[in-house]
Structures are given as structure tokens and as C-alpha cells.
């Protein structure tokens, strides 16, 4: 049963079709890889799903409900979470605050909560504080709760963004290159976590990746995109062995990138 479906979705910029009549369907509880060379339209596809861009044509359905045309915050609130390629932590907030902002059950849209007596507010916050510390410890940033996000290294910011995404508790997770810039040990932790999220929590995960090892390792299904179109799809082994696809990539992404974390 598909939880997210794109039908004939197209988007052009200045006459160039970034996404060209793409039809996709994602199964709940599965991990789907979205691969393709740079400029293939993968991130644009993410923008379209999350509402940051409106499709020129086609429709996007989430749990049977049409979501294209809705503002990004609505789509996010419906349960579609996203990890950005350029991380985007809240730079002048602390690590703890970054994660706390993400919780959906907090009364942050009610400023008059500030007029309540101190104790009530503390109770509301306590549960979220515990959960926030848990996720921070989970991604390996414990001890850094009070550090300002902008003082963290790139790899640490990435982990923070992941902790923040976990706190959102979304049903669908769109991960844009989650392992880029993270050290090997951490990649393993993240991959294990992604698999657990899919198997145990029944989350639907869509990953844009250039690291083929990752795709081979955890993806249940793969879509290959080039020049705005879906060229091929299937099981990871099939897609990755495919000579045509390897040719398009020209062997650039066979090795696991090792970067400081």
C-alpha cells in the first residue's frame, strides 16, 4: 500500500524541465533510495513533496489526500519530515533548544502560556526535555546540550539535524544525503537507526544518496533519476549492477566517502 504517491509531476525553471512527468509510489515502512547524478532533479523532487515548490503539472498524494499546493508547514505538520542537504540547524540556538523546537506537542503557538504559573509550564516542558536529551545522547552529542549550534562542526551539526528530525516523530522521512560529512562509525549508527525506524516504528524513509554502499546496505527499493525523469527502478542489487546506470555515474560513487565528523 503506497503511503506517498506522485502522479506525472513536472516542474520547470526558465524553460528547463527539472522534473519531467515523474510518477512514483512509496510503500509505508520501507526504505526507498533515490539516486542519480547531480542535477538529476532529486532535491527538486524533495522540494515538491514538502511543498517548497509547486508542481507545474501532476499531483502528489499522501495517505490518499492531495498535498501539492499546500504550504510547507502544513505538509510538515501532516507528518512529512525532512533532513536538508545543507543541514540548516538553528545557528544561534543551543543544541538542546534546536531539538526542543521540533516537538509537535508543545504549546509554542500559544504565547499566553507564558502567563501561566511557572509550575504548569515546567510540567509541560519536562517530558520534552527528557525526550530531547535522549535524542541528543542517541546521536552522540551528549554533553553539548548548551553549546550554540553555530559552534559545532559540520558533522556535529548534521547529527543535531538528525536528532531534531527524530524529535519531530514524522511518518515519512525525506533524508537528503544523510551520510555526507559524517565519519564511518557514525554512518553505521545512522544506518542502523534508519533501519530500526523502518522496521520497528514503521516509518517510511526516502533517501537521496551518492554513497552506493549505503543504498546497497539498507534500501528496499531504488529509483534512478536522470535529467528529471525516472530512468529505472527496482531492487538495489539490480539497479546497481546495471551497466547503463554505472556508465552514467562513471564509477564516481563506488567508494565510501570518508570525512571528518
Amino acid at each position: 500500500m503506497s503511503i506517498l504517491e506522485l502522479q506525472q509531476v513536472s516542474k520547470s525553471f526558465d524553460g528547463i524541465k527539472a522534473v519531467d512527468g515523474v510518477s512514483l509510489s512509496f510503500e509505508g515502512g520501507k526504505i526507498t533510495g533515490l539516486i542519480g547524478p547531480n542535477g538529476a532533479g532529486k532535491t527538486t523532487l524533495f522540494h515538491l513533496i514538502t511543498g517548497f515548490l509547486r508542481p507545474d503539472a501532476g499531483a502528489i498524494y499522501y495517505k490518499g489526500k492531495r498535498i501539492d499546493g499546500l504550504p510547507p508547514w502544513r505538509i510538515a505538520a501532516e507528518g512529512i519530515g525532512r533532513l536538508f542537504q545543507d543541514v540548516r540547524v538553528f545557528r544561534q540556538l543551543t543544541v538542546l533548544e534546536n531539538v526542543l523546537v521540533a516537538f509537535r506537542n508543545q504549546p509554542d503557538d500559544k504565547p499566553w502560556v507564558a502567563f501561566l504559573p511557572f509550575r504548569r509550564l515546567k510540567d509541560i516542558e519536562r517530558e520534552n526535555l527528557e525526550k530531547a536529551r535522549y535524542w541528543i545522547q542517541f546521536v552522540g552529542l551528549e554533553g553539548m546540550e548548551n553549546a550554540r549550534a553555530e559552534d559545532l562542526s559540520y558533522g556535529q551539526q548534521k547529527l543535531l539535524a538528525i536528532a531534531r528530525l527524530l524529535a519531530v516523530d514524522a511518518e515519512i522521512l525525506l533524508l537528503d544525503e544523510p551520510t555526507a560529512g559524517v565519519n564511518i562509525k557514525m554512518i553505521r549508527v545512522i544506518l542502523d537507526m534508519i533501519e530500526r525506524l523502518a522496521k520497528e516504528e514503521r516509518k517510511t524513509i526516502i533517501i537521496i544518496e551518492h554513497n552506493m554502499q549505503v543504498i546497497r546496505d539498507i534500501a528496499d527499493w531504488v529509483y534512478f533519476m536522470n535529467e528529471g525523469k525516472i530512468i529505472s527502478y527496482g531492487l538495489p542489487e539490480e539497479i546497481l549492477e546495471n551497466k547503463e546506470i554505472r556508465r552514467i555515474y562513471i564509477g564516481m560513487y563506488d567508494s565510501v566517502p570518508v570525512e571528518g565528523g
Binding site: W73, A76, G81, R88, F90, E97, N98, L100, F115, R164
Partner: protein, 289 residues
């Protein structure tokens, strides 16, 4: 002594003005030139109700706050649909229009002639008449506003505002309705700015539109920028600085005729230096982005 009380009253008025502007500038990242308009609306509505309708201070203040909320919505709802620089320009436009209405609708506001004879507040037959009494009154009322503003800033609402300030796109990807938060922040900021307006009116016992110009907004802004935005102590430091600087100048025997000009030059210099060397201000946290 009475002069020190006068300074305390001014400090109490301007700290609420700067802290409420800080909610917009430092916490939400919205640069608004319209703040003096809400300060003015607070002053004028309170004044008109007290003088023309014989109301007491607090009922008049209540309506003034409602008026400021309404005006904030009128300004915020269209302006917040505009991106960055255009938003700033729109608030500037609204500030000018509101000033012109105060200045030119002589039938309602008496225009440039101002409204004299504003009464002091009365409680149970006792008037808050002496400067000492008024300073206590002003400090108490301002204190309440500051406390509430502080609570708001430290609440989850304040935290989400800061997140929106730092990265709107990431915040909306977390499900936050950015537009709604910004409108809320703007309305809160305007509502709180109206209270010092009422305090000012009843203290001076006379108001005219020239206290609520664009330059007045700039003055409040300089308090926020010099002291620093994004936390609580910054704007307070800034307010103390801009209010006490004239006194310091007086100490240096700068003649009264040129003192206002010298004061403004010093504010300008300070802001220039700070923008260059320390954009988070003397005590603030937020470096303007």
C-alpha cells in the same frame, strides 16, 4: 531628586518600548519601523477616552491596548506577506501614514496643537499626583509589562520565534506556521508598546504627534541595537544608555541648544561602531542577519 524620579519614569517607559521592539527585532528577526505608531496609539486612545469620555486610566488603557492590537493586525497582515526588505519599507510606510493621521485629523486629535490637561490616574479618590507617586506607579506598571515580556521571551513561543529568526525554512519543515507566528509576535509587540504610551500621556499631561514620529522609532531602535537584541538584558542596557547619555552630556556642560544634536551624533557614532565591531550590541546575543 525630582529629576532623578523623572529619569526613572522615562527609563520605565522606554524599557517597555525597547523590550517590546526586541521581541520583533531580536527574537523574530523582523525589522520594523512602525513601533512609535503603536506607542502613539496607546497614548492617544488613553488620552481621548480619559478627557473626552471621562474614563479612568485603566479602562482607557484597556481599550488602548485593544486599539493597538487592531492596528498591529492592520499593519502586520499585509506587510508580513512581503519578503525582507519590502517588509521593512512597508512598516516605514505605515508609520508615516499613522503619524500623518495623528497630525492632520485635527478634529479628533487636535493635530499639531496637541492635547493638554491629561489627568493623572485616580484610585479610590487618591490621585497619583506627585512625581514620586507617579514614579512608583510607572515602575510598577512597567515592571508588570517587563515581567510578562520576559516570560513570553523565555517560553516555548519565544524559542520557536528564535528558530524562525535563524532559519525560516527549517522551521517550516518542522511544521511551524511561520506567517502566524510572525503576526502573533507583531501584535504582541504593538500591544505592549501601547502601555508606555498611556504612561507617557498621563505623566506629561500633554501629548502631541511629534513624540511619535519615525525618528522616535529610530530612537527606540537605537536603544535595542546599542544594548543588543535577542535577550532580555540587552535592550535594558541600551535603554539605560540612551536615556542617561543626555544627562552625561549635561554634566559636560554642553549647551542645551545644541545638546539634542550632539546626542544624536553620539548615538549615530555608537551604532556605526557597534555595527562594525560588535553587531550583537553591548549586551545582546543576536547578531543581526
Amino acid at each position: 531628586m525630582s529629576y532623578i524620579l523623572h529619569l526613572l519614569i522615562l527609563l520605565s517607559i522606554y524599557s517597555v518600548l525597547s523590550l517590546s521592539l526586541n521581541l520583533l527585532v531580536g527574537y523574530t528577526g523582523l525589522f520594523s519601523f512602525a513601533h512609535a505608531a503603536f506607542y502613539g496609539i496607546g497614548a492617544y486612545i488613553t488620552t481621548l477616552l480619559m478627557i473626552k469620555a471621562g474614563w479612568g486610566f485603566f479602562p482607557a488603557l484597556f481599550i488602548a491596548i485593544l486599539g493597538a492590537i487592531l492596528l498591529s493586525l492592520i499593519v502586520a497582515i499585509p506587510s508580513l506577506r512581503l519578503k525582507g526588505d519590502y517588509f521593512v519599507l512597508a512598516t516605514l510606510g505605515f508609520q508615516t501614514i499613522i503619524f500623518y493621521i495623528l497630525y492632520n485629523w485635527v478634529g479628533l486629535t487636535n493635530g499639531p496643537y496637541g492635547i493638554p490637561g491629561i489627568p493623572r490616574p485616580k484610585f479610590l479618590g487618591f490621585g497619583v499626583d506627585s512625581t514620586f507617586a507617579y514614579s512608583v506607579f510607572s515602575i510598577l506598571l512597567s515592571g508588570i509589562c517587563l515581567l510578562l515580556l520576559w516570560r513570553i521571551c523565555e517560553s516555548p513561543f519565544g524559542r520557536t520565534l528564535r528558530a524562525i529568526r535563524d532559519d525560516e525554512i527549517a522551521a517550516s519543515a518542522l511544521g511551524k506556521n511561520i506567517y502566524r507566528f510572525k503576526v502573533l509576535a507583531f501584535v504582541l509587540s504593538g500591544a505592549f508598546a501601547s502601555v508606555p504610551g498611556a504612561l507617557f500621556a498621563s505623566y506629561m499631561r500633554y501629548i502631541d504627534p511629534t513624540s511619535f514620529t519615525l525618528m522616535e522609532t529610530v530612537f527606540i531602535l537605537s536603544a535595542v541595537l546599542i544594548g543588543g537584541a535577542g535577550n532580555i538584558k540587552g535592550p535594558i542596557i541600551g535603554t539605560v544608555f540612551v536615556i542617561l547619555l543626555p544627562e552625561f552630556l549635561r554634566f559636560l556642560h554642553i549647551p542645551d541648544t545644541i545638546a539634542p544634536n550632539v546626542r544624536q551624533i553620539l548615538y549615530g557614532l555608537f551604532i556605526l561602531i557597534l555595527m562594525r565591531l560588535r553587531p550583537q550590541g553591548l549586551g545582546g546575543e543576536y547578531k543581526l542577519q
